[in-house]
Symmetry: C2
């Protein structure tokens, strides 16, 4: 029996065309050399930049490649704050940001920045009124994610940007969970900076990017040979970057159909799970949601035993926020949404991808039902003893 | 006629076994997931860590993967200075460091650190007496490269480390140009931190590492999901990292033979060039030198016209420091070694790799001779006019 992968939160599978692009790029030269092989490599690099820029409606010059989404997020916060000190030293973020945003903010706080963390409502939405109340003349930057990869909620970024810009604060959005899954248009959103990562839209790990609106001042995090216009030095990971370009081009072309396909499969998963399991709750907004994400809490079981039990039966599922998977504390996202520790205990992140079939979903639901039933009976026995 | 690549300074070609490892790793899971695919990916990651650690005689726990050598160098300087502020805020480096060290140091200087740059002698050596004189009780860190990839000189690191440690300063060495080419043993050298990059020893771009001696305090540069023991967050670029492991294992096994092979080919290049060309000077130490490097200056021609002329005839050669290849100023390394602008003008970095044959060398020498002769006659005509 082939395994069923419902854990595409941290990384999506690599598409065949993307894989071919990596292999083809392995023999390219160094884009910083001036001779023939170097010039060809440079062309490949710039082609990828155009492809990724097109996915988010940016100008290629506004796009800087990084090694991963974490680097893009760290750079956005640290680089924009350091580059715009004249305005002040105040940073605002939301309580459900990825650790690559919240821990970068914590570091900035330790170094003297004032950091304000905005709450979210029960569905995971940041309220524009809360942002408005938090803004001060010293606010340099607001960083609120476009979509939360764990609970699936897509934030009202356009509205939040308008509020930030009224107070002349810059706006960065972590679009790592969103790009390639929902339309992302930097011009329509109005954002000043935006992070995205290839391994979240069927590209490889090792390539990501930070969009920085033209004319904006950002200090580099990595200094050296002057690659990426001096904004991000380091030999370019050309195979991964070229593959990110291909993945972006496919995403740009297929996004509407992809979203429709995945939504249908995801909705089937939801319907079957809620019909067949008792004590199940859906988390996150349903009206404004990533098409490939389902987040549930199962009463009377723990996330960890669920994920391990499902794994033993051939189903990969996600445990809270993927990057914190080793830590058994309830997810900070669920806590911020007001779930109690008890409510958050049986949280399961189920993310599907291109290739997940209705049959996969039906088999997975059966297995989830069986595993949950077994775990619940064990829990019942233990608590009786 | 196949092209001859004598520009392996910034990147070496990828070995067939390394390429296979990348392709095989493309379908691995996320090493941070706790289910089966994640655990297998984690094993692959840890195997690569052992392989790279073995190349430099470090413990696997002391090795942290980064995305590129530039990141490793930036992290070493910024992270060690920030992590050891109690001792002071003084940093010492040499005048011939790669920009990823010297520009990171400049940034630290702008942020309040005291930075001392040590001179080098005519062969590119840092003198231990100069280091001794520069050390103060506030010196936190000394960063001197193990070998200079441009002029080939291998520095007396062991001696320099002893001097630094007498003054209780930490010692970082940029071994990016050296690892895989000359023996690198962190215990024998005594260094506290060391950078190396896969794409300099027949691995791919996108994977590098920083060795940090156990027990040392270093602040992370990238904060987030807690990968690499919390020292370097970000989804691991597993295909590139696994490939770096394979390249390291091959380097560990083949280093003595590889060095012998490359030295023979490089020496043939030197002998033929000096025999057949007039007005040629060899730069860098000959006694303590990278086996695959030759650095020459040709009188009466410019580096750029040489590199472009050779490129047109099918020979890729390096122009000053590879990462600064767009800039036409004489290399900072040659300036530090005391060469005048006029002497440095016709500088050519010739680096060979596994696969460069004696026949390649003979053909290249013929072409270099022809191109140099043509350029010199043009220069003579122009200056007469």
């Amino acid at each position: 029996m082939t395994r069923i992968n419902l854990d595409c939160t941290a990384s999506t599978p690599i598409l065949p065309q993307v894989r071919e692009a990596i292999v083809a790029a392995l023999d390219e030269g160094n884009p910083s050399s001036i001779h023939a092989a170097g010039r060809q490599a440079k062309q490949r690099l710039e082609r990828a930049r155009q492809q990724v820029a097109a996915l988010i409606n940016a100008a290629p010059e506004e796009l800087h490649f990084t090694s991963c989404g974490t680097e893009a997020n760290n750079w956005a916060l640290k680089g924009l704050l350091a580059g715009n000190k004249r305005k002040g030293n105040h940073l605002i973020l939301s309580a459900i940001e990825h650790p690559s945003v919240s821990l970068a903010a914590r570091r900035l706080g330790l170094e003297g920045a004032e950091v304000t963390t905005l709450p979210v409502d029960r569905e995971g939405f940041v309220r524009p009124a809360d942002l408005k109340a938090a803004l001060t003349p010293e606010t340099v930057l607001v960083s609120i994610m476009l979509a939360n990869g764990e609970v699936g909620t897509v934030e009202p970024i356009q509205e939040l940007v308008a509020v930030a810009h009224e107070h002349e604060a810059l706006f960065h959005t972590d679009a790592i969970a969103a790009a390639g899954h929902v339309p992302v248009d930097v011009k329509a959103l109005g954002v000043d900076a935006l992070s995205l990562a290839a391994n979240q839209f069927y590209g490889p790990p090792g390539a990501a990017a930070l969009f920085v609106r033209e004319g904006l001042r950002i200090l580099p995090l990595l200094e050296g040979g002057g690659q990426e216009g001096g904004n991000r030095s380091g030999t370019e990971a050309l195979p991964a970057i070229v593959a990110m370009g291909v993945a972006a081009e496919i995403a740009t072309r297929e996004l509407p159909e992809r979203a429709k396909r995945l939504t249908a499969v995801r909705d089937r998963l939801r319907t079957a799970l809620t019909a067949q399991l008792e004590g199940i709750r859906i988390n996150g907004s349903w009206a404004s949601r990533l098409p490939h994400n389902l987040h549930v809490c199962l009463d009377g079981v723990s996330s960890e035993s669920l994920v391990l039990g499902l794994d033993a039966e051939g189903v990969a599922a996600g445990l809270g926020s993927a990057c914190n998977s080793k830590s058994m504390r309830p997810s900070h996202v669920l806590k911020a949404m007001g779930l109690t520790d008890e409510e958050a205990k049986g949280a399961l992140v189920l993310t599907i991808a291109e290739g997940t079939t209705p049959d996969d979903v039906d088999r997975a639901v059966e297995i989830i039902e069986r595993v949950a039933k077994r775990l619940r009976s064990v829990t019942a026995l233990t608590s009786r003893a």
